[in-house]
Symmetry: C2
Subunit: 438 residues, 2 copies
């Protein structure tokens, strides 16, 4: 088989066989295909697509290109959740211990943030001492003990995906749906899961800014997961404004803790958590319906079981569980600045993307992968879409360590804030649920 | 300007500005764009195309990426001919001196053969002593003296094209029409021409196997040439069967000499020569119509002026002009093998591509660029489409230096030969002439 012939085949919009996909994934992983040939093939895929069978084969071969997590012997069902990313989306931090408290096994592999969106690993590392780079043995032992572990991808996990992902980033082919789907699912497949719940975000702060594209993406994810023998549901949720009350690493840990303690001041975050939790329990077979799963989750929060599981997880992974009872032990930025409403009215919108950029200016995120993070930096949002404000009200408090960063972020935050004379219609956070097998 | 943004723009099927095209050509020439980004852009162009304005800009920038031939001061009009390549297509060898004998200045830059098609430089080098790698000074002096010089592209001519051409070859993007057009014309533009006649071949032995694609290609070439301020005409000619009576390097030199000496045993070759010559004279302003140009060419052959000019060119370029009077001084293969008709009938077809492959097996061509050539190897075709044959007639004589090569080539040649009970309708060699300015 020659790589050049496969490029020409995809250029002609023909479908690859499973053998051809295997050859492509292996050539990417072992470096036998030069970058320029991979790049040309990636663009042909970006423009001519791949069908579900090709995407399934690609996902499988990318997972097979490295070593899987060996979780055999562990009781089932093993279930994970993946979010396509957003602003203030620290839901995983509460969701993973919550699902474990319901009896599921949750090996949750997470990523880091880049650009205006945050990453779960960065948020967890805001907890003093918390370790995310764990060897397989440690992950397995923790899952046996408490049913939940949140960790970084091991180095030799899906090397074909790592190679192609870096190239996609440099060759304008990141947006290709079958490449997105196979990239997401190859890492999940390597976790040896039984089921997966996908949170597909849509709106200004999401990868899929348009709803229609999010729905196509969700369908492709679910269809491909099923083709791989993985139970899957996709929840399409709104990312027009940031989720919850906080943006920033330590602040989003605080958000998760508050919600697990029973606080209800972030209703969109809570809704997202309960719907995702309900579906994890349903796919994991712990309940008969997602609604029943949601009620079970509410009960586990009320009883404190989910919160206790969170603290156990923190202790297991080397973190200081005191952070859960005393936010004073979390990293804090040295300064803060209130942002005040320039006039009275109703909040008609709060652009998640722009708020994400404001958080970047505060040091809460990375413009480039090598940038350092200020774990304490971030934003506490006092008013969200639908809220009434009076001129001079504090609409947000910014936390940061540089005066110029705070000033710039305040300007950016006001750009995100849309005020109007009449109340806005607030979009429900959950827009659609896709679960073809249900 | 970032290369990545230009990739995304072309992926979205948008048109590049002239500044963007300049950035792309320069980044290719100076190596600042990595191969994988160039490769991804090339595939986006292969699938989403470029319009005439983009192709004109690309051609201009690729020509500007290196040094031009400085032929200023030379009398005008300067005119060249380019063929998209075929089997037995050694017409340039006769055409260049013929057009010079009519008073035109013909700086003819030629290439080498690869695969089943031959290259003019290889054919000329079959003449003992003939030099094609000439410095600019020598080319200019020869053009001043005799009006014709046939030479290889200088090293620093259109480096952006050289870079992109090599990458296209490895990335499945050779077939892209705007890339083909800009590659051909950038080298011609760097010759500082006034006019250009294009021989666009179509049929089994041609790059454009289908007539419709050849016509689209011819239109794009002429439109782009006009956009560059170059007078141009395209002659679409048939390459279903090989042109003339010979395939092979020394043998095609012999073909050119025979035709210049007034032989008429290769009517398709002669027709091609006279039509192309007529249009060169017309575009060069030596005559009012192409028909008048054709008659002038016939006169220059009859009078021996074209033949004398050929011999002068051979002497000027270090070759032995005796080859023109004594074919015995041309390289010869050590063995020959007649191919006989397996049954009686009419030749209904003689696949140019398959005959080209037979010539490759004899050593007359290169399968890879680093292969050596056997200048004496090749094929003399005794019967062509439309001819009647009897069983046992010699339909071709093969020349080569290895017995196994001769045997394999004979088998291949019989594959090329289609015999039938009824005479075939013979396609005229000239299929269409495109000259929007005429």
């Amino acid at each position: 088989m020659r790589f050049l012939d496969l490029i020409v085949k995809k250029r002609e919009a023909l479908s690859h066989t499973a053998e051809e996909i295997r050859f492509i994934a292996r050539s990417a992983a072992d470096g036998t295909a030069p970058d320029y040939q991979l790049a040309s093939w990636l663009m042909a895929v970006a423009l001519n697509g791949m069908d579900t069978a090709e995407t399934v084969a690609m996902t499988r071969e990318m997972a097979a290109s490295g070593s899987r997590l060996r979780l055999k012997g562990l009781r089932s069902p093993k279930i994970d959740k993946h979010s396509t990313g957003g602003v203030g989306d620290g839901v995983s931090i509460a969701l993973a211990p919550l699902a474990a408290a319901a009896g599921l096994v949750v090996p949750m592999m997470s990523g880091r943030g880049l650009g205006h969106t945050g990453g779960t690993l960065d948020k967890l590392e805001a907890i003093p001492g918390f370790k995310v780079g764990l060897p397989e043995r440690r992950i397995k032992r923790q899952l046996e003990a408490i049913g939940v572990c949140m960790f970084a991808a091991t180095k030799d996990l899906a090397p074909a995906d790592r190679k192609l992902y870096r190239l996609r980033d440099a060759t304008g082919t990141v947006e290709s749906l079958p490449l997105i789907v196979s990239s997401i699912l190859s890492k999940k497949l390597a976790e040896d899961l039984d089921a997966l719940v996908l949170d597909v975000k849509t709106g200004s702060g999401a990868f899929f800014t348009e709803y229609a594209r999010a729905e196509v993406g969700a369908q492709a994810l679910v269809a491909t997961a099923r083709g791989l023998g993985l139970k899957a549901a996709a929840i399409i949720t709104s990312m027009d404004q940031p989720l919850g009350r906080f943006v920033g690493n330590a602040l989003e840990v605080r958000q998760a803790v508050e919600v697990l303690q029973g606080e209800t001041t972030a209703p969109d975050y809570l809704e997202c958590l309960l719907v995702l939790g309900g579906w994890m329990l349903k796919l994991g077979g712990a309940v008969r319906t997602a609604d029943e799963g949601r009620e079970r989750c509410e009960g586990l929060i009320r009883s404190g079981a989910a919160f206790r599981r969170f603290k156990e997880m923190v202790r297991f992974q080397g973190g200081d569980p005191k952070v859960a009872d005393d936010f004073g032990t979390l990293p804090k930025a040295s300064s803060s600045l209130p942002v005040r409403a320039p006039r009275s009215g109703f909040v008609r919108g709060l652009s998640a993307r722009t708020v994400g950029h404001a958080a970047l200016l505060l040091g809460a995120g990375r413009a480039r992968m090598e940038d350092d993070l200020d774990y304490g930096a971030g934003i506490r949002m006092e008013k969200k879409t639908g809220d009434r404000v009076r001129k001079g009200d504090v609409v947000a408090t910014l936390y940061g360590s540089s005066a110029s960063g705070l000033r710039e972020a305040a300007k950016k935050y006001l750009e995100a804030l849309e005020l109007g004379a009449r109340p806005a219609k607030v979009q429900t956070v959950v827009r659609k649920i896709l679960c073809p097998a249900a």
